[in-house]
């Protein structure tokens, strides 16, 4: 927290700080409930605060600070699989500064720095700031951008970015490292590494954005990340830990398109007062490739699986956004179909026995959000999410690959 305070203080005390600041932001406050299979979680809250302050020195240069703070009394859907109805609260704070320098001809250079802190309370015996998975992430990056055109008609902005992240899990150490302090009592001690989740990531990203005629926008992005685990040793076929460290590459290719269709005013005899439809479609493919393996230590299995973490994943995400021109009521619906196939990980029987099939997981989710403006930038919001996951494995002692979950939120959103 001290890093946040110091950074904010330095920026606010900068000369002429109050002269030409612009402010942007939004705040979301929700109450809701979450269900995992047949179990309901308690009624809980979710808040999301976003603020940006910008200052320009000239058309050539300027900077902005952005802060984000999220409190969640819910487990997010992407984390559901790990723990069912596990009680969870999280607090996510981040702050970043980005400097923009523009050159003639549409070129820009945009360096940035930022820091992020995430805190978790996941069990009844875990206090704030003592969470096992609390982490700090320090990040820096630079983006080179060119604004140009594709032919006569289409504006084209492309960016090449380099980002570096250092993630430090404050409290997480391998138990083996802690147990090593027991010395002779433990006997021969394994050495998987100590801070096994800490990573340094170097990421390069290429992104293109196009504005096509006919109120159509299109983007494409490719990102390649090299992830070094600073202290996670490789396990070999005999279950022994080597001195070499884990290293992953993670790449993602994503594309998205949206188009504003013609407004319509009614459906058959039902006058809706003018509706603007904007359908969209997103497609992505990602791949994780790791040199880490896994050795299943259950005595009846004792199975070595090379490339245990490697997978390919694709997503197909159509959506539609409908806005009432009369009332500004907005309805957004997004369906996501995801398919992940593991390259090395095997499917298992309920008993844990391994099958010869590689593990795959198919997920569907539907997200619906309705927004009704109340006054000024204030709006009432309803959100719901339904997700279903199916996998070809039946062994779920420690992780749920097969589940249905849904949640709903109701609350207000305020935009500056």
């Amino acid at each position: 927290m001290r890093q946040f305070a110091l950074l904010l203080l330095l920026l606010l005390l900068a000369p002429d700080a109050r002269a030409t600041w612009s402010f942007l932001g939004d705040a979301n406050l929700f109450l809701g409930q979450y269900y995992f299979d047949r179990s309901a979680g308690s009624l809980n809250g979710f808040t999301d605060l976003n603020f940006q302050q910008s200052k320009s020195f000239s058309p050539s240069s300027g900077f902005f600070i952005s802060e984000r703070s999220i409190y969640s009394g819910f487990k997010q859907v992407n984390e559901l699989a790990g723990g069912g109805t596990l009680f969870q609260q999280s607090l996510d704070n981040s702050i970043g500064v980005k400097y923009i320098h523009r050159f003639e001809g549409g070129y820009s250079l945009k360096p940035r720095i930022g820091v992020r802190n995430q805190l978790f309370r996941e069990t009844v015996d875990e206090d704030w700031t003592k969470g096992l998975y609390d982490f700090w992430r320090y990040e820096t990056g630079i983006t080179w951008e060119r604004k140009t055109r594709l032919g006569l008609s289409i504006p084209w902005t492309y960016q090449l970015s380099y980002d570096a992240y250092y993630t430090n899990y404050t409290h997480f150490k391998s138990l083996a490292a802690q147990a090593a302090q027991l010395g002779a009592a433990l006997g021969v001690a394994p050495n998987p590494g100590k801070k096994t989740l800490d990573t340094v990531t170097n990421q390069i990203t290429y992104r293109s954005d196009f504005d096509l005629p006919g109120f159509t926008t299109l983007y494409g992005m490719y990102s390649l990340a090299w992830v070094t685990f600073v202290d996670q040793n490789i396990v070999n076929r005999q279950g022994q830990y080597l001195d070499s460290k884990r290293a992953d590459t993670f790449q993602t290719l994503a594309m998205g398109v949206s188009k504003r269709l013609s407004d319509f005013n009614g459906i058959w005899r039902w006058d809706l007062g003018g509706i603007r439809p904007v359908p969209s479609l997103g497609v992505s493919v990602s791949n994780l490739d790791s040199n880490q393996n896994n050795f299943d230590t259950d005595p009846t299995r004792l199975k070595y699986i090379g490339g245990f973490f490697n997978y390919w994943e694709t997503h197909f995400t159509p959506g539609i956004d409908l806005t009432s021109l009369k009332t500004q009521f907005n309805l957004r619906m997004v369906y996501d179909l995801g398919y992940r196939t593991f390259s090395g990980r095997l499917s298992q029987e309920a008993s844990g026995a391994y099958r010869s099939d590689k593990l795959y997981q198919l997920t569907h989710s539907v997200f619906i959000e309705a927004t009704y403006p109340i006054w000024g930038g204030l709006a009432f919001k309803l959100r719901g999410l339904w997700a279903d996951s199916n996998a070809n494995t039946d062994f779920e002692r420690t992780y749920r690959y097969n589940f249905v979950s849904y949640n709903y939120f109701a609350g207000v959103a305020w935009r500056i």
């Binding site: 020195f57 069912g84 138990l175 990421q203 990203t205 005629p213 279950g239 319509f264 004792l302 992780y399």
Partner: protein, 523 residues
């Protein structure tokens, strides 16, 4: 799922079959100086105050005069001196304006903005939420300057271009030129860190960092996938790690560590074999199985097993020593069983250690099986427990000829039986601490010297839920394999502490196999 897909498809179909209902958009004129209007083909009339503009009406401004045109969604448009302007069409579907001559500056942000287009003699500009300037001169040349946002401009040659922030475009009677970015020194250049740029940059940064975020989030899921992070039956987080070690070529050691806030429990399972074991340890289960009741002489077999658990102060150790497999006639179990290879001896001990244990360490319980010794041609098994003086003493002994069906049916011939003797007999009480129907079983044994040992075994899910035998929706026993076993060992010798470990059920099953008495074996 099919229903949801159908619903999405249906909504798209409904959109396409929608019908348009015309409705007026309110447009008002606010004159500044000498401003005139006229209807279609009518006379120019000077306007002095705010009036509504209707489709078909034209506006013109004179020297040193201007006009502000406002729209019902808050959008605004300013006309320069000597400009000619008209509202050509305005309904719910579309609003079309015309700039015949002069210059206008527009700021469109509301919902109607993107249903609006402005025509000049040579260009049509469709608005997409934009601040822009548009001019038309008497030679038919138009110029568009977009300060912020997007415009879709069409020329009279059928060409179309999207013009974005800080771009300028000239359109003549010969058509449009290529849009140009304004120079950073141009007065039309915008500030570098203006709100729209900040919003766009923030969004793109979040997309990029989301890739790192997703990857990082995956690490946490991996911990769960590998069974390293679960909740125990008391709602506490338990971190688990298991390691396989190879202290000797014929031995492996499974080390299990469990950590909760303020306590650390750990233990190990050691298995030693007669001969070196293969690197592919998945073959071990067949070697283990071959040690008991094999029809043929095994080439390798288990000789020693040790289960150890501790809270770092107190500990419980169970050891089993196996003799070499010997051919024994088990036909008393049935004519088809015949001769099988079975360990010549088995010696199981339950040993407690800790500051509260008399002498620091003592064996509380022992079970031995032995072929041919001391009874030739028989398996003798003997149970020892601590007596009232705390000394390990035989309480039961029996012998059985496994080839003799009558002896098998009688569970052997008893040679020692001191059950009921108060100087040595022990008392075991069982209970269900979480209530009947819950897989939470506790067994407490009190020995003749008043020492006691309790073992609580709980089937608990990774979310900390105790398996519910009574709940028909829990898929009953088919999912038992998806539960962890939490074992809480307490003892009068542990001075109020306990040992609380969560282990894979497979460890229990192997231990049980090693300690089951021969009469319970099913060939």
């Amino acid at each position: 799922m099919e229903n949801i897909i159908r619903a999405v498809v249906l909504s798209v179909v409904l959109v396409s079959s929608a019908r348009a209902i015309p409705a007026p958009v309110q447009i008002q004129l606010v004159p500044q100086g000498q401003v005139e209007i006229r209807g279609a083909g009518g006379e120019w009339t000077r306007v002095s105050g705010r009036i509504n503009l209707e489709p078909g009406q034209e506006v013109r401004t004179k020297d040193a005069s201007a006009a502000l045109i406002t729209f019902s969604d808050g959008s605004k448009l300013a006309l320069s001196p000597n400009a000619q302007f008209a509202v050509e069409k305005s309904d719910r579907q579309e609003t079309t304006l015309k700039l015949g001559l002069g210059k206008l500056r527009a700021f469109f942000a509301g919902y109607m903005s993107s249903r609006l287009s402005v025509r000049t003699p040579t260009a049509v500009a469709a608005v997409r939420g934009t601040e822009f300037e548009l001019s038309a001169d008497s030679q038919g040349q138009s110029e568009v300057n977009v300060r912020e946002g997007h415009l879709e401009v069409s020329d009279n040659q059928g060409r179309q271009a999207v013009v974005t922030s800080e771009e300028t475009l000239r359109v003549t009677e010969r058509g449009m030129e290529r849009p140009q970015l304004v120079s950073l020194t141009d007065e039309r250049a915008q500030q570098a860190a203006r709100p729209l740029v900040v919003m766009a940059e923030t969004g793109k940064d979040q997309t990029r960092t989301m890739v790192e975020e997703l990857r990082n989030r995956e690490l946490k899921a991996n911990e769960a996938q590998l069974g390293k992070n679960i909740i125990d039956a008391f709602g506490r987080r338990v971190r688990l790690e298991e390691y396989l070690l190879r202290p000797a070529p014929n031995q492996f050691k499974l080390l299990f560590l469990s950590f909760r806030e303020n306590r650390f429990d750990w233990g190990h399972l050691i298995e030693t074999f007669k001969n070196p074991i293969p690197n592919d340890l998945s073959q071990l289960s067949s070697i283990f199985a071959g040690s008991f009741f094999s029809k043929t002489a095994p080439s390798n077999w288990i000789t020693y097993m040790e289960f150890f658990a501790t809270n770092t102060v107190d500990s419980i150790k169970e050891t089993i020593t196996f003799g070499d497999p010997t051919a024994i006639d088990f036909s008393g179990f049935g004519p088809s069983v015949g001769t099988r290879y079975y360990p010549a001896t088995m010696d199981y001990k339950q040993i407690f250690s800790g500051p509260g244990v008399p002498g620091g360490t003592r064996t509380q319980f022992r079970l031995q099986h032995s072929w041919n010794n001391p009874n030739p041609g028989r398996i003798t098994w003997q149970q020892d427990v601590v007596n009232n003086l705390g000394v390990l003493t035989p309480i039961f002994q029996a012998a059985m000829n496994p080839a003799n069906a009558a002896e098998v049916a009688a569970d052997g011939i008893e040679t020692i039986n001191l059950y009921g003797n108060p100087t040595i007999d022990f008392n075991t009480v069982t209970s269900f601490p979480s209530g009947k129907g819950k897989a939470d079983f506790m067994s407490k044994t009190t020995y003749a010297d008043n020492s006691w040992v309790s073992t609580r075994k709980i089937l608990v899910s990774n979310e900390g839920n105790i398996f519910d035998f009574a709940n028909p929706n829990a898929d009953a026993f088919t999912k038992v394999g998806n539960y962890n076993v939490e074992i809480v060992v307490g003892s009068s010798m542990f001075q109020g502490r306990d040992i609380d470990v969560i282990i894979a059920p497979e460890i229990l099953s192997q231990k049980k196999t090693g300690t089951t008495q021969p009469d319970a074996f099913s060939p």
